[in-house]
């Protein structure tokens, strides 16, 4: 084995919401490519974009929103590899008796939305606009997880989150689909970076994510195919 090339590392900067799926895919990729290590840096997409701009040694960037991808001038032809759809999340037992998007206009319910500045907030805005509803939120959360936490703890009666998040939350949260969700789909772009130290294997990893196996893992987590 001393004759083998030293193990090469692929450094993947991925949105925090991809933690579970990418960790699984990374392990499978390593198994399929002996001698290659996949290192992840999971954080908010905007923080990752900032780090890449400041010269972080990344090979691959998978963002939760096209906007963050655009901040990275180094990105070469990003492609969408997954989509995420909104869903209404309510605490177990649905104490607010929420049935659809109309509940978000109810002053008497405690409602959480994501802030407009983050992808799920932008998507929620689109969906609500499509449904013609003026929402009366009590809080505009920093990200999906924060909104979901408030649902889990029963602090709000309903929140608009991603389907993947409802799925991950398990039994504590119930998800309610609504028709306008399809109007507010969030795209996840991925790319190999221009200055990637290990471009070849980075490309291989991106291909693996976009392979059928990749799609299957993503679908299992609640993502839809592009």
């Amino acid at each position: 084995s001393s004759q083998e090339e030293p193990p090469r590392t692929v450094t993947v900067f991925a949105a925090a919401s991809l933690t579970e799926t990418f960790t699984t895919l990374g392990k499978e990729f390593e198994a399929a490519n002996p001698g290659v290590r996949v290192t992840f840096n999971f954080a908010g997409s905007s923080a990752l974009a900032k780090q890449i701009t400041e010269g972080a040694p990344a090979d691959v960037f998978a963002s939760a929103a096209p906007a963050n991808m655009q901040q990275v001038t180094d990105a070469k032809d990003p492609v969408t590899f997954a989509r995420n759809q909104l869903e209404i999340a309510v605490p177990k037992g649905n104490p607010g008796k929420v049935t659809g998007l109309a509940a978000f206009a109810d002053e008497n319910l405690d409602i959480a939305l994501c802030a407009e500045q983050v992808p799920c907030g932008a998507a929620a805005k689109k969906a609500l606009a499509a449904a013609g509803i003026t929402a009366k939120p009590d809080t505009l959360e920093q990200d999906v997880k924060a909104a979901l936490t408030k649902v889990r703890l029963g602090e709000v009666d309903a929140a608009l989150v991603y389907r993947t998040d409802v799925k991950a939350a398990g039994a504590e949260v119930e998800g309610i689909d609504f028709p306008e969700a399809s109007k507010a789909v969030n795209d996840y772009p991925i790319t190999v970076l221009g200055k990637a130290p290990n471009a070849a294997q980075a490309k291989a990893f991106v291909d693996f994510v976009r392979s059928d196996r990749g799609k299957a893992v993503l679908a299992e987590a609640g993502f839809s195919a592009p």
């Binding site: 908010g44 905007s46 923080a47 900032k50 906007a67 963050n68 901040q71 405690d110 959480a112 802030a115 500045q117 983050v118 939120p137 009590d138 809080t139 505009l140 959360e141 920093q142 924060a146 936490t149 408030k150 703890l153 029963g154 602090e155």
Partner: protein, 265 residues
């Protein structure tokens, strides 16, 4: 002239060199931020309604939280330093816990206890009709929770360094322990209390994770500057930096003027 001051011109290099390094370490990143700020937009940004509101809310909440910290924290520090309570070591270590807790988890912990379904929050709601999450009061609570350890630990350190015999002198003059505390002990540890207050206020002003988790984020009600900064960072990093600079400038101005009045020099 200054060469004739006692000890002046004699600051030893072994202290001055690390001090300068330390200062550079703290200040250079700020210089970096300032260099990236688009000063042209600065005044308009400062005057925009949302920023003004967030800034006002930040200052008000941080100040109220500091008041809470002082009112509850100074007695706690005194009991820790002077009271002969069992398990003091453990209590003292427990006080530092909110520091170690990732703020978001701190917010979750607050929700668990003071939220709608929490044991204390439920009581508050049923008895007084008070609900803390998603209100300005909730911001104050979250900030106080995160900032109080700074006050308690600073003040306790100061109390431990103070001579307890002066309190004894007050007792022989007929002062109750409360009077002795108020009129003798407290003034004598003022530098420590001021240090703790400054730390608490600054920490409360910069608080983000616990606030957004416990109190949420609603403009005019719970959106403090750090929340505004965080969200701006998502879409417009330039704006986020400018907002941070606003926060910094205001806090430095407040501290430079206040500390001067309190501690002199």
């Amino acid at each position: 002239m200054s060469g004739r001051r006692v000890g002046k011109g004699r600051l030893p290099a072994v202290l001055v060199v690390p001090a300068v390094l330390g200062l550079a370490f703290l200040v250079l990143p700020l210089v970096g931020l300032l260099a990236r700020t688009s000063w042209a937009e600065f005044p308009s940004r400062l005057l925009s309604a949302e920023v003004g509101e967030a800034l006002r809310l930040s200052l008000v909440c941080a100040s109220l939280a500091t008041v809470v910290c002082v009112v509850l924290g100074v007695p706690l520090a005194w009991v820790l330093a002077r009271g002969d309570i069992p398990g003091r070591r453990l209590v003292r270590a427990l006080v530092t816990v909110p520091l170690v807790l990732p703020p978001v988890v701190g917010g979750v912990a607050l929700l668990l206890v003071l939220g709608k379904r929490g044991p204390v929050g439920g009581l508050l709601e049923n008895w007084f009709g008070v609900s803390l999450p998603f209100t300005t009061a909730g911001v104050v609570v979250a900030e106080a929770f995160v900032a109080m350890p700074f006050l308690v630990i600073s003040v306790e350190g100061a109390l431990r360094a103070a001579d307890p015999r002066v309190e004894e002198a007050a007792a022989t003059l007929g002062a109750s322990r409360w009077l002795a505390f108020r009129r003798v002990t407290l003034p004598s540890v003022m530098p420590g209390v001021v240090a703790g207050t400054v730390l608490s206020w600054a920490r409360a002003l910069g608080e983000f994770g616990a606030t957004i988790t416990f109190a949420g984020n609603f403009p005019g009600e719970t959106t403090t500057m750090p929340l505004a900064v965080y969200l701006a960072l998502e879409t417009d990093p330039q704006a986020a930096i400018a907002l941070s600079v606003v926060l910094l400038v205001v806090s430095v101005a407040v501290l430079a003027s206040l500390r001067n009045r309190w501690v002199g020099g």
